[in-house]
């Protein structure tokens, strides 16, 4: 099979799995997850084959794998859609396929496959546990299987389909299609437990918020297409003349160039998708979904998709300095802003959610200062360790729920970190993998992947003279290390603070295996991007990532010379943050003792309330007013006028015209005449065939005679 065919086939298995599960295997849980995981394995295998074939190609950036077909006739030409794998695509495909596969596997354990059905579980609500009786007659409450188990895998499949489609697309349109499929799936998955009002609200919120970004993105796509006549990345970026025209400054509003405007519009889409300020509000709420969903959305796929799209459009973005500034600002601001909120959160998943926002801000900021390889590198490493962290947190929650079921005290929130503590003994695998993920997030020096990627961003900022960005990001990195250590300390270290934490249990292999696999990547993946001239370590391993992904662009980005300042700074902030966090939180036993429970941070700078007042409230008010005045008053009024008026006209026509003239004169009159004529002529129709024949013969004879005598004279 050629590589191109294989690329076409990558998105297919999850889509097929979706239809198979929805249409046929819905009733059978084992079959459903077999189909789903099998599809993920197939896609993963195909992706790996494609990835390694891509590795073996020299100068893949100039000769990527491309294949396209005619799709939509547009006048004389065709709009072509197709697939393309260049170095960036290959790198993204690598981590996407692995994380998706891991998440599929993890879901099997997370949804308690193999456990009995719940005592009073209902569809749309998380499972509440089942009572079983063991051989000694003791009754236990054990976790129960998710009631909508099959549906979950179907949604996951569709989601994976969207992501793969997005990654392998060679044009903006199919990328957007995959983007929107993911938007739908995130809605479905966040609202998976639709029985919970909060989940419903979160699903709507996520959908509506990302929709704002998507509208702008669609505008950007439309503008791009109207200007260039194509949406294919290579065709646009490979056309230097076109790029030059687009780069002409000051032709549109705000003094932006066309390229800048398009890039800005597309970037707004990313802001929505990757949850950048000011459209970040949906992401923390999205934690209402099952934890694999959180990992899927916030680590592996959807938020990565936003960054991926910006990286894809980087050649266009880099044409306008003003847009770059905007991007850099938003990224930097988001990084520090989300990090401060994360410090004050108590929910284990929410901390990670804000952490994600913050890290995405890092990437966006890196793009804004032109460090696009660093952004891609951080994207990949972040995907691995953040997926690890989310799955780890899911594992923790799962263990805590076990404890909750054991004690039967349902008032204890299994996600609140202050209810945990000392879990490292109960859940050793989860602890160690979580520790690896947390250290990678913090940028623990030398060992972890996060260190290398984050260091590269800081180094880029320093080297390119973006001092404000550098300082802000350094601060954010410090905060990251701090809240990560806070999380680890509160969760795993010390002694159990509740009975539930005492009874927490390690999770099954389907959940721990993905953790272990991902932790390998969370450490090892950083080593492919060690700068060449790093002291001691530089050169031990080739700086492969830089070489490979850097080849995506026409001009290879220059390698930044080594500088000790950013290295020192990142060492200090990472180690300092970790140390401070451990020192402070090992003594904190409850939320009240926590100094950082600042109301402003706790309430996320009141953004939700502000949006409620500024946007949502007015819209609802307007809708109500419109209903009352415009609809009920004006439109109904008009209708109420027309009703009687029509009735009156109808009555007039009926009584004065229809009844006397049409009915009585024309209608009845004609009928009467016809009837009378018929009655008169009726006896002629005797029904006797011979009389008819005789009559016609007589007529024939008469006519013949007449003809003969009148015309015969002339014959």
């Amino acid at each position: 099979m050629t590589t191109e065919t294989l690329i076409w086939l990558i998105p297919l298995p999850p889509a097929l799995a979706f239809f198979l599960i929805v249409l046929f295997t819905n009733k059978n849980k084992a079959l459903s997850h077999t189909v789903g995981v099998g599809a993920a394995v197939l896609s993963w295998l195909a992706s790996m084959v494609v990835f390694f074939r891509a590795l073996s190609v020299e100068h893949l950036g100039e000769h990527p794998f491309v294949s396209s077909v005619n799709w939509l006739p547009t006048g004389d030409t065709w709009f072509r859609i197709g697939v393309a794998i260049d170095p960036l695509g290959a790198a993204v495909l690598f981590f996407v396929s692995i994380t998706i596969f891991m998440i599929f596997l993890y879901s099997v354990g997370y949804h308690n496959f193999g456990q009995p059905a719940g005592d009073h579980d209902r569809k749309g609500l998380p499972p509440h546990g089942a009572t079983v009786t063991d051989e000694h007659g003791h009754q236990h409450v054990v976790p129960s299987v998710e009631p909508m188990y099959s549906r979950f895998f179907a949604f996951l499949g569709l989601f994976a389909f969207g992501m793969y489609t997005l990654v392998v697309s060679d044009n903006l349109l199919t990328l957007f299609v995959g983007w929107e499929i993911m938007g739908l799936c995130s809605y479905l998955l966040i609202g998976f437990w639709y029985g919970k009002p909060s989940a419903r609200a979160a699903a709507i919120k996520a959908f509506m918020t990302t929709r704002i970004g998507d509208v702008f993105m669609l505008l950007g796509i439309g503008l791009l297409y109207s200007l260039t006549g194509t949406l294919n990345f290579r065709e646009i970026f490979g056309n230097e003349e076109l790029m030059h025209t687009l780069a002409t400054p000051g032709t549109t509003l705000f003094g932006l160039s066309l390229a800048g405007l398009i890039a800005l519009l597309l970037f707004i889409g990313t802001v929505g998708k990757s949850a950048q300020w000011p459209l970040h509000v949906w992401l923390p709420d999205a934690m209402e979904g099952p934890t694999p969903v959180s990992a899927m959305i916030h680590a592996a796929t959807m938020v990565s998709a936003g960054v991926y799209a910006v990286i894809r459009m980087f050649p266009l973005l880099s044409l306008d300095h003003n847009t770059m500034t905007v991007v850099a600002f938003i990224g930097t601001f988001t990084a520090i802003f989300a990090a401060t909120i994360a410090v004050a959160q108590n929910d284990i998943k929410r901390v990670l959610a804000y952490s994600t926002i913050s890290q995405l801000g890092f990437m966006i900021a890196a793009l804004g200062i032109g460090a696009y390889v660093a952004a891609a590198f951080h994207l990949v490493t972040h995907a691995f360790f953040k997926a690890l962290l989310f799955l780890g947190s899911g594992s923790v929650i799962h263990g805590m729920e076990h404890g909750v079921l054991h004690t039967g005290n349902h008032s204890v929130d299994p996600q609140d970190m202050f209810n945990m503590g000392g879990l490292r003994k109960k859940m050793p695998i989860t602890f160690w993998t979580f520790l690896i993920g947390g250290f990678a997030l913090s940028g623990f020096p030398l060992l972890t992947a996060g260190f290398w990627s984050k260091d590269e961003i800081l180094a880029d900022a320093w080297a390119n003279g973006h001092l404000a960005v550098f300082i802000t990001l350094a601060t954010a990195a410090f905060l990251t290390a701090f809240y990560t250590m806070r999380q680890i300390t509160l969760t795993f270290l010390g002694e159990p603070r509740t009975k539930e934490a005492e009874h927490a249990q390690e999770t099954p292999w389907t959940m721990t295996v993905p953790l272990m696999v991902l932790s390998v990547f969370a450490i090892g993946y950083g080593w492919v991007g060690i700068p060449e001239d790093f002291p001691l370590l530089g050169g031990l391993l080739p700086s492969w990532f830089h070489e490979f992904v850097g080849g995506t662009l026409a001009e290879h980005p220059e390698v930044i010379p080594f500088n000790p300042v950013p290295l020192t700074v990142s060492l200090v902030v990472a180690l300092g943050g970790l140390l401070l966090g451990w020192l402070y939180y090992r003594n904190v036993n409850s939320a009240k003792e926590d100094f950082f429970q600042i109301p402003l941070l706790k309430n996320k700078y009141h953004f939700d309330e502000a949006y409620q007042v500024v946007f949502i409230g007015p819209v609802i008010w307007l809708s109500e007013v419109f209903t009352k005045w415009a609809d009920q008053g004006v439109i109904d009024g008009i209708l109420h006028f027309f009703g009687p008026a029509t009735g009156g006209i109808g009555a007039f026509i009926r009584n004065k015209i229809d009844l006397p003239i049409i009915n009585e004169f024309i209608g009845d009159g004609l009928a009467a005449v016809t009837q009378e004529t018929g009655r008169t002529l009726r006896p002629i129709q005797t029904g006797r065939i011979q009389q008819y024949m005789m009559l016609s013969l007589v007529i024939l004879a008469v006519v013949g005679a007449l003809l003969y005598f009148m015309l015969g004279a002339g014959l």
């Binding site: 009389q691 005789m694 013969l697």
Partner: protein, 175 residues
């Protein structure tokens, strides 16, 4: 008067007399048998016209099939077979008048026609009218289409007749 003329006159007289019996005789079986006689006369007329094929086909089709069918039909509608009431309807004299008028009109029209006294040309030596007829019937340049249409008509009539005359009750009782 030649022999042929005498033969023709005798045949024509017998044929017309039989035809008259067909339309006037009371007994319908006799009418059908008289019809057979008439048809024989017509067959002889064909033979006189050197149309041997038509003569034989006349016997096969008309006497062998149609006349038999008539006799069957008369027997199947047996109530009328011994019907001693009037066999002509009340307006029969108008019919007779019309028939006479028709005959008169036809003869009158023929009277003024130049071709009336044409005599038949000799049959060409070696001319086989059956071969010519066969060629004409199946030659694409001649009459293959009317011939085929006629065959389809026959088939349709066959199916239609079976359907119309089929008695579902008796059909059931046999099973």
């Amino acid at each position: 008067m030649t022999t042929a003329q005498i033969i023709f006159l005798v045949v024509a007289a017998v044929t017309l007399a039989s035809a008259f019996m067909v339309v006037t005789t009371r007994n319908l079986i006799h009418a059908a048998l008289w019809l057979v006689a008439t048809l024989f006369g017509v067959a002889v007329t064909y033979a006189l016209l050197d149309a041997g094929f038509l003569a034989v086909v006349q016997v096969v089709v008309y006497i062998g099939a149609i006349a038999i069918l008539f006799i069957f039909a008369v027997m199947l509608t047996r109530k009328e077979m011994r019907d001693q009431g009037p066999q002509l309807n009340s307006g029969w004299w108008i019919s007779a008048l019309l028939a006479v008028l028709t005959f008169g009109g036809l003869v009158g029209m023929l009277w003024g026609w130049r071709g009336m006294d044409t005599l038949a040309s000799e049959m060409p030596v070696g001319f086989d009218s059956i071969n010519a007829l066969g060629d004409a019937l199946i030659s694409p340049n001649a009459f293959v289409l009317p011939f085929e249409v006629a065959s389809v008509l026959l088939l349709a009539a066959l199916v239609g007749a079976v359907y119309v005359a089929f008695n579902p009750r008796s059909g059931d009782s046999r099973k």
